[in-house]
């Protein structure tokens, strides 16, 4: 067991997979220099120019070449530096990669990963801070992993690289400096299995990536007030571990979903709808969402905080859920 930062864990996870499988190759911008977030530090020196390929600033070429390489027998891990930049190569991701297996009736297999730095909280502004995981969730054919800890950064990446399906890994920029335990050896966290980070009987909090530590902070505050929150780290949007959420809501009767992407159509809406359809009878309060604001993300600290989810907003939502009194049905 080693203690690593999230960014070190990404590099370590890539190195583990490259050690394990010689067909794992990296493609992206500035990889040789270690990447702008230092998530590929040391990999060029260790694995050389054949397996660690620096590209021009050509996101369409990066994504398309990863697809071709996967069709040709490699397991490429592509990097899109900021997840906002998916907009420049979204065609390759959604029209080509997501659909190749289906349109070929299973004859094409694309074992590829695209990693990118996602999310806000560090003042990078509207074009470098978006939480774009909900974009991907609109498209059947893409798996979506969003690690919240250094351990998961390694474990989910390992599962993604070994998957025969295309997986988008959204690393959270605000988490890169966070330290945590990374198990030694072959550490794989299967895709589609949520983690219960804290148990509690009063309310279920569902978070993803940076909203998981936020939920845990909220739960600590709530515990001081005598409210026990269960915190579920969804880990993946696709496959979605609906069973874990439904089981938890079955016990707590209350659900607050905490998502960083804009609430007007965030992944939290899908989770809320699922629970409303399948666990309506268990609910003792309306499902609530704490979401990113429906504005482009501003830079100044107070402005960005204003429109971003926070532990305090989660605590407030939980109190609203607890205060809800269900009107007794008319007999």
């Amino acid at each position: 067991m080693a203690e690593l930062t999230y960014r070190e864990a990404v590099a370590a996870g890539l190195a583990r997979e490259m050690d394990r499988d010689p067909t794992v190759v990296l493609i992206g911008e500035d990889l040789r220099a270690g990447g702008v977030f230092k998530t590929t530090k040391g990999l060029f020196e260790r694995f050389g120019p054949v397996r660690v390929r620096d590209t021009p600033i050509s996101e369409q070429a990066i994504v398309g070449a990863a697809m071709g390489a996967a069709m040709g027998g490699l397991r490429p891990v592509a990097e899109i530096m900021f997840s906002d930049f998916y907009a420049t190569c979204w065609d390759g991701v959604v029209n080509e990669i997501a659909k190749a297996r289906y349109m070929s009736a299973g004859r094409l297999t694309l074992p590829l990963v695209i990693r990118s730095a996602n999310g806000g909280g560090i003042g990078f502004g509207a074009q470098h801070s978006q939480a774009t995981e909900n974009w991907a969730m609109c498209v059947p054919g893409l798996k979506i992993a969003c690690p919240s800890t250094p351990g998961d950064a390694v474990g989910l990446l390992a599962a993604a690289v070994r998957s025969d399906d295309p997986v988008l890994v959204f690393e959270h920029k605000a988490l890169y400096g966070v330290r945590g335990e990374v198990p030694d050896g072959d550490h794989v966290v299967p895709l589609g299995r949520a983690g219960v980070r804290r148990s509690g009987a009063d309310v279920t909090l569902v978070g993803l990536a940076a909203t998981v530590p936020m939920c845990l902070a909220a739960a600590a505050d709530l515990a001081a007030a005598g409210v026990e929150a269960e915190v579920i780290d969804l880990r993946c949007l696709v496959p979605l571990d609906a069973a874990t959420v439904l089981e938890s809501v079955g016990r707590t009767g209350r659900l607050v979903v905490v998502e960083e992407n804009p609430g007007q159509l965030g992944w939290g809406a899908a989770v809320a709808a699922l629970v409303a359809e399948e666990a309506f009878g268990d609910l003792r309060a309306p499902v609530l969402r704490v979401s990113g604001g429906n504005v482009p993300l501003p830079v100044a600290k107070e402005l960005e905080a204003e429109v971003s989810p926070s532990a305090a907003k989660v605590v407030a939502a939980v109190h609203r859920a607890l205060d809800h009194r269900r009107v007794a049905p008319v007999a």
């Binding site: 398309g64 070449a65 069709m71 490699l74 490429p76 190749a100 094409l108 297999t109 496959p239």
Partner: protein
């Protein structure tokens, strides 16, 4: 030399389903364009073009009868490009193309029966009914698909080349695209990447003068939309008469050899013309009077037959080819029309590698 073009590609999905794609391969096979010898090459090139012609004519008829599901973009007039380049590829090589791709699929050996089933939306089609005319493919024959977003597959071709390079495999990838694709970013990104990485890719522009309904010269400031741009990326570019199959083949053999030697990508721009509209549904009234006739006078089949006969070929032998391949295609169409329709439940398979479309627990 391995003929396995499916490295990393598992046969699954419809390939293993209740209605497998027939491996019956009558009419045109991969072998028909392999090992051409001076004594027979003229006739074999002609026959391959004739088969493509007959196939496309039949699709046109079926489309007009309302039997083809979705649009159909035909290669009538483009036969020499597919056959000329196809004849320059080895069994281990790969190709990839656009929605106008029946000809490229056929010349690699994609079973015509499986293609016809796909076009008619019957069970057992090469895409299991999930692709249609614009997405035919045959992984086992090295045709990695027809792609319907302009330019999107050029970076994919670069990636295929990258894989051969990393794996040390002797495979060249031929990538076909239209003149219209030369103005989209992916074209430029792919050419640049392929050039700077010395990838074994031959880019082949089928310049038919039109991007859908718009003449290409009205949107491009250079004479050769692909070849003139290639120079900017340091790619050797060759222009060729795309209606002369021998000329195309000669140029393609040289281009493939360059790529195979590891000297990097080559671009070939073949000038050709589509005899019909952009798709069968398009009457193509925007084309100036006389233009179609002038190009039909240079029909790739006639051009080649005349040259072959001038070289001593027997005119009677050439005369007999078209009726024969039309018969074969008619039988293929009949079999497809009699084939069962797919099970509706097939719509729910093949999203994921476990065969399912399940996204949640």
């Amino acid at each position: 030399m391995s003929t396995d073009t499916s490295a990393g590609q598992a046969a699954s999905g419809a390939a293993r389903g209740e209605h497998p794609t027939p491996d019956r391969n009558e009419g045109l096979t991969a072998d028909d364009l392999r090992d051409l010898a001076p004594a027979d090459q003229d006739l074999r090139l002609y026959r391959a073009m004739a088969f493509v012609r007959a196939f496309e004519e039949r699709v046109e008829t079926l489309y007009k009868q309302g039997q083809v599901r979705g649009p159909a973009h035909l290669a009538l007039g483009h036969e020499a490009v597919a056959v000329g380049v196809g004849a320059a590829l080895g069994p281990q090589d790969r190709s990839i193309g656009t929605y106008r791709g029946h000809h490229h699929a056929l010349v690699r050996g994609t079973p015509p029966d499986g293609m016809m089933l796909e076009l008619l939306g019957r069970a057992g089609g090469v895409c299991g009914g999930k692709g249609g005319s614009m997405h035919v493919l045959s992984v086992e024959h090295g045709y990695l698909g027809s792609h319907a977003i302009i330019g999107a597959h050029l970076p994919v071709a670069a990636g295929l080349g990258w894989a051969s390079q990393v794996l040390g495999e002797d495979r060249v990838t031929a990538c076909f695209f239209g003149d219209g694709a030369t103005n989209i970013g992916a074209f430029h990104e792919a050419l640049n990447l392929a050039a700077v990485w010395h990838l074994p890719v031959v880019f082949v522009c089928e310049n038919n003068g039109y991007m859908e309904y718009t003449p290409i010269e009205t949107v491009v400031p250079v004479t050769y939309p692909a070849a003139d741009r290639a120079a900017a990326y340091g790619l050797p570019a060759i222009t060729v008469d795309g209606n002369d199959v021998s000329a195309v083949r000669e140029v393609a053999v040289a281009a493939v050899a360059t790529a195979r030697r590891g000297e990097g990508p080559v671009l070939v721009e073949a000038r050709t013309y589509r005899h019909g509209g952009h798709s069968v549904a398009d009457p193509a009234a925007y084309r100036p009077l006389g233009e179609v006739e002038a190009w039909k006078a240079r029909d790739p089949l006639a051009v080649h037959r005349d040259a072959a006969v001038a070289r001593g070929g027997d005119p009677a032998v050439y005369e007999a080819v078209m009726p024969e391949v039309r018969e074969q295609v008619a039988a293929i169409a009949r079999r497809a029309q009699e084939a069962p329709r797919p099970d509706a439940a097939d719509a729910w398979t093949d999203v994921w590698s476990d065969g399912s479309s399940t996204w949640r627990s």
